[in-house]
Subunit: 200 residues, 2 copies
DNA sequence: GTTTTTTGTCAACGGCTGTTGACTTCTACC
DNA sequence: GGTAGAAGTCAACAGCCGTTGACAAAAAAC
C-alpha cells in the first residue's frame, strides 16, 4: 500500500544496458556464433545465447525472428579459404595446414558451425548448400583439371576431418600447434592433392 | 455400464507383441544405432527410438537405464577398421576407400554415431576416448614409424571427413559409388599416408 | 512539454524431453 | 490350478525449449 513514488525499477544496482541497437545486434550474433560452433545447433539454446549476449531471449527473437533465422545470419560470413587460393601453388598446403593448426580452437569460425549442423533436420540443408557454393566450387575452379571437383572435395574432407578432431571431438592426437608431426603430414597431404594426386 | 466380461484389452486388431526379451533388447539397440547415426544424440528422442523398435519409451528405460547408457551400449561395437590392417600394405588404401564408398549410407555404423557426438556435452568424451582407444592406437601400432600416431590421425581425419560428407552432411560432390574419381583420389591419398608421406 | 518510436524486460504459453511408478498381461514353475 | 515373476503398457511428472504479447523506460520527434 505505502508504495513510494516509483513501483518500477526495483532492481538494485544493475546499470541499465546502454541502448545501442547495432552493438546489441552484433553481440547477439557473436554469442550465437560461439555457441553454435561449440555446442551445435540443437544444444545451443536461445536462453543461453541471450545470456551470453547479456540480454533477454525475447530480444533475440525481435532482432532475428527465429532461431533458424539466427543460424542463417550466423553463417553469412566467409569460411576464409579464399585468401589461400592465390597464384602461389607450391606452398598452399603448408599455408592451409599452418592456418588451421594456429587458429585458436575456441574461436567462433564458420566451418565449426557448419560441421555441427550435421544431422540437424532444420539446418543441415543450408550447411551443405553453403559449403558447396562457397568452398567446393571456388576450390575446384582454382584447382583446375584433372578431376577438379574430386580433388576439391578431398581437400575439404581432409581439412574438415582434422578440424573436427581439434575442435568438436577434441582428441589428444590432434592437439598441438603448427610445428607438430601431424601438421607437417597434413601439409604434405594437402599439397599432394593440390599438385594433382596420381591415380590409385 | 454394460461392460461385457473383459474391460481389459480394448485394443482392436493389434496382435500383442511376442514376449522375447532378447530380441526386444536387440531391436531397441538397432533402432537406437540407426537414429543416433542419422539424427545425432540430441535429435534422437527416446519416444522415436521406442517407436522404431515397436515398443514404449518406458521399456527402453527398463532395458538400458537411461538415454546415456543406451548410447554407451550403442557404441559398444567395433568400428571395423581392423579387417584392413593385415599384412598386405600395398593395397590397403584402395580397400578402405572401396569399403567406405560401397557401404550403404543409411546403415547404422559406429563411426557415424561417434561423429554425431561432436559437441554433445553428455557423450562427447565417450566418443573421443573410444576413437582413441579403438582406432588411433591400433592403427598407429600397425603403421609403425615414422610418425605413427600422426599418420594414424591423418588417416582417421581423411576417412571421417569423407564419411561425414557422405552420411551426415550429404553433399553432391561426395555422392556416388566406389568407381568415382573421388573414391580413386581418396584411395591414393590413404595409400600415400600408409606408405609414409614425405616431409612437407 | 507532450507524444511517438525504439530498446529492453517480464511472465507465460504450448509443446517436447527423459524418466518414473502404478498398472496389466502373458509365461513358467510348483 | 494357483501363483510368482517377467514383459509390456499407460498416464503423468518435472524441466527445458522456442516463441509470444503485454508492459516499462529511454530517446527522439514534434
Amino acid at each position: 500500500m505505502a508504495q513510494r513514488k516509483s513501483p518500477t525499477r526495483p532492481r538494485s544496482a544493475a546499470p541499465p544496458r546502454p541502448r545501442d541497437a547495432e552493438q546489441t545486434r552484433s553481440e547477439i550474433l557473436h554469442a550465437a556464433r560461439v555457441l553454435f560452433a561449440t555446442r551445435g545447433y540443437a544444444n545451443a539454446g536461445m536462453r543461453e545465447i541471450a545470456a551470453a549476449a547479456g540480454i533477454t531471449p525475447a530480444l533475440v527473437v525481435r532482432y532475428f525472428g527465429s532461431k533458424r533465422d539466427l543460424f542463417i545470419a550466423a553463417i553469412e560470413s566467409d569460411i576464409g579459404l579464399g585468401p589461400f587460393l592465390g597464384p602461389d601453388r607450391a606452398t598452399v598446403g603448408r599455408h592451409i595446414a599452418r592456418y588451421f593448426f594456429s587458429k585458436p580452437v575456441r574461436e567462433a569460425d564458420t566451418l565449426s558451425i557448419l560441421l555441427h549442423a550435421a544431422g540437424e533436420p532444420e539446418v543441415c540443408d543450408l550447411a551443405t548448400e553453403l559449403l558447396a557454393a562457397r568452398v567446393i566450387q571456388p576450390l575446384a575452379r582454382w584447382l583446375g583439371p584433372p578431376r577438379a571437383e574430386a580433388r576439391a572435395a578431398l581437400l575439404l574432407a581432409i581439412i574438415s576431418g582434422t578440424w573436427l578432431f581439434r575442435q568438436a571431438l577434441p582428441m589428444r592426437a590432434f592437439a598441438g600447434g603448427p610445428d607438430t608431426a601431424l601438421a607437417s603430414c597434413m601439409a604434405a597431404q594437402l599439397q599432394h592433392v593440390v599438385d594433382g594426386s596420381p591415380e590409385a
